[in-house]
Symmetry: D2
Subunit: 269 residues, 4 copies
């Protein structure tokens, strides 16, 4: 293809002086897919496919980041994603890219095994999860996001209608600063018990009856679900701060309803 022999060193443009000497908060790659093992409370680990972003900061004196080294760091990562393996990955990135701060985001579907409430038949429900880590000279910070589908029954509709009440699927989206170890399943369960009902993949008639009746005995606004979740996160010893947003696909509307509570335990209120 090229007449130039491969051993002649190619110029490293990234190391040049930039035209404008501004430091960059994050430079890196987005949307690279990889197979990933994540922790599973029941099975030890779960195989999934993650969409990954990796980045470092860049000082004012360098024109560009060596992005191929980020891809290399990812290709060399074959551990179960945990608090500690993530720290190793971020540590390697800091080292190999000579960066003071390294950042990684893993987005993946997490499949939760769930027995149907009456028949006990097994099924799986998918939750969208994100694990973010940042490592700098002050140590590692960890952010977990989970998006859990649930069911809500409208208390207003129930109170004013002579029959029925509108219900709908809703999503409980948590974003949390986490201190150390955690199980994704914990936060999915917190989301589910805070709503009118959990959702399931497999429901036989006996199960559908039970889910319907349970949900109608627990009518909740998105505001109620947001408060229920938040009360549990406030007490959770590993949660440093959180944003809990509940968005319901209102069945009587073409638009959604939502409620969000934010709290930072690390700040005096």
């Amino acid at each position: 293809m090229s007449a130039r022999p491969p051993f002649i060193p190619l110029v490293d443009v990234q190391m040049e002086q930039p035209g404008i000497a501004l430091p960059i908060n994050r430079a890196g790659i987005k949307g690279i897919k990889m197979p990933l093992l994540v922790q599973d409370r029941q099975e030890g680990s779960q195989a999934t496919i993650a969409d990954v972003d990796l980045a470092v900061d860049l000082p004012a004196s360098l024109k560009g980041t060596h992005m191929s080294r980020l891809v290399e760091a990812l290709d060399n990562f074959d551990e179960v994603l945990t608090h500690t393996s993530l720290r190793r990955l971020l540590g390697n990135i800091r080292l190999n890219l000579l960066a003071s701060c390294a950042f990684a985001r893993f987005s993946f579907p997490f499949l939760v095994r769930k027995a149907a409430p009456a028949t006990g038949k097994p099924g799986r429900v998918a939750c969208a999860c994100v694990i973010e880590g940042k490592l700098d000279e002050h140590g590692q910070t960890l952010v977990l996001r989970t998006a859990t589908p649930v069911m809500t029954v409208c208390p207003c509709s129930m109170a004013i209608s002579s029959v029925g009440a509108h219900s709908q699927r809703a999503t409980v989206s948590l974003e949390m600063g986490i201190d150390g170890l955690f199980w994704i399943e914990e936060f999915i369960e917190i989301s589910e018990v805070s709503a009118s009902s959990a959702v399931y993949s497999l429901l036989k008639r006996e199960d559908e009856k039970m889910v319907t009746e349970k949900a109608f005995s627990n009518p909740m606004f998105v505001e109620d679900v947001a408060r229920n979740v938040s009360a549990r996160l406030l007490e959770h010893p590993r949660v440093l701060w959180f944003s809990a947003e509940v968005e319901s696909l209102e069945s009587i509307h073409g638009h959604n309803a939502f409620a969000r509570i934010e709290h930072d335990k690390t700040k005096r209120n």
Copy 2:
């Protein structure tokens, strides 16, 4: 920028012989946005923003299409989008690109004004619409797609539960070959009256009560809605063929349910 004077003709690579002499069904542009006027039964026309695809066929003897002429044709199009203005646009494209077949697709949100059922308060609900036209030596064919949000109440859940029944938002997605004139609103209404209830943007308590009670007096599976819609489309004089798909965001599941009926009146069955 360039030393070459602008009046020296630049080579027209598109007109060259291709390496492989295969005819191309469609070559063109995708995802260009433009302001668009579409027909509105009540107001005459409605201003929206469309996402547009334009294409032509290409004979085996030509390397490429002159895509900039497609953009020009679109920039010159300032009429309300109708059966006849679309034919003019496609005719111009055939002419300017020396093509035997011209194709256009306009995707846009269509806003339907809707009074709340009890208070009569006004509101708007958005439906996703697509109008496709194809013009060749046999004339113009027209395809309309509408995606209308509706509400379904589950008849099974209602029959087996001691209280309530799960309900959810669903989408009625129609794809139809249309003969001549049509109103988008007709097909949105057909979609809405075929479900447990229409959805609304503005509902006061009296309205919410009425919508809930109406929906619970009309429990329907996605199969029921698909059949209701199809029975109406079978009788519609302008509909040549259709696919009617109903997909419900099941409130007890993390996944959706769907039913689809396809029918082609132009074929003997």
Copy 3:
């Protein structure tokens, strides 16, 4: 539908005491579509279709927000969206929902008229814009987001290859706290002049030649574009704080490259 006469007051569940007395940061609606007029520097205003979120805060003592009043406030809003009309909308929401804080987000495509660089032929390029406003007892804060497509040519590829250099479409995504008046066009232009080249809808051959040559005379990493944009935003008198992210759809990779600079002028660094 219902035997209950409409003048008997229906219970207002929203006004009840919640089970858990936590204040809610935001409760409201998401994803309601409406026609919207936004400011256009050349034409005065531009008609678009917006996707709108509206919300208020909710004290610990109330179970739910009256979401229908948010829809009403929006239906009554028929002004060009400006700094001042947004304040009126938010003021009405605070009043009608008895809230201390009101929040609105309008997301819409903004179409920029742009002449081709050599032939001067007119065209339009769409930018995704978001205007957010928040009004509480401390006054109104305004956030503008613009996502502008641009072109980048890779300086590394150019330096090391015997011919050519890979180029690609990139998006400059700005998020900015704005003090008072602004033109969306200003920030789109800042984004475009900071990249290897702007993009266009209509380019004849003379134009394509000019764009290619201009872009290849301005090779830039995403880091370069982020710095160029940021240098301009640092000097902009209306910008209080910003995040400038550039993401390129790398043509040699299946993933993207990005760089982000954040700066808050209201804080001492």
Copy 4:
């Protein structure tokens, strides 16, 4: 939850007569996620996460499908997805739902291992794949879709510009009727060799130089890529019919360019 004892049979609403006696082409579930093993030419199999649709037809005499049996069939499916295991799954669905036609669609990311062209360093590129099967009394039909990212360099821009040429990422989207066995990798390779260059995840400077130079020695319109791919699919013994669409994220435009060739070998032309 319910006073009704679980052994009293619950009414089976699905088995009732529908109000409108129309047969339904497809009724089932959409968007259920599951771990899936797919065939991998090098490793035997590859673990991925699939998004699954399952459906059956429904006669005019039955009100609804037993959708929970579709979920059960999927939960019991733990084989590598092949031509023959898919037939078993569809056969079970036909049997358990008493249907004459069963349909399944699996959508999943497929990761292709790829060595960098100069350094040979390993990497992975994700392709979006869909495998669809339909089983009725006439047997099984199989449809494969692959979406492969590639690179294109514009021949027009190269011919008319004094330096460079715009390049961009493009996607080669194939939809094919397949007769029997197939490797996904075959069609990804056909897509890649038909473009200006393949894309890679990991490219060191020597590799980037080689990719750039190779791509610039193979300038291609989307029309060229569509023809190249189609010529190969026309000769492929397992491909019964195909649609080959190439869409490029034009780096000089805000919109995309595309070309599509369709061919059905089972029909006389």
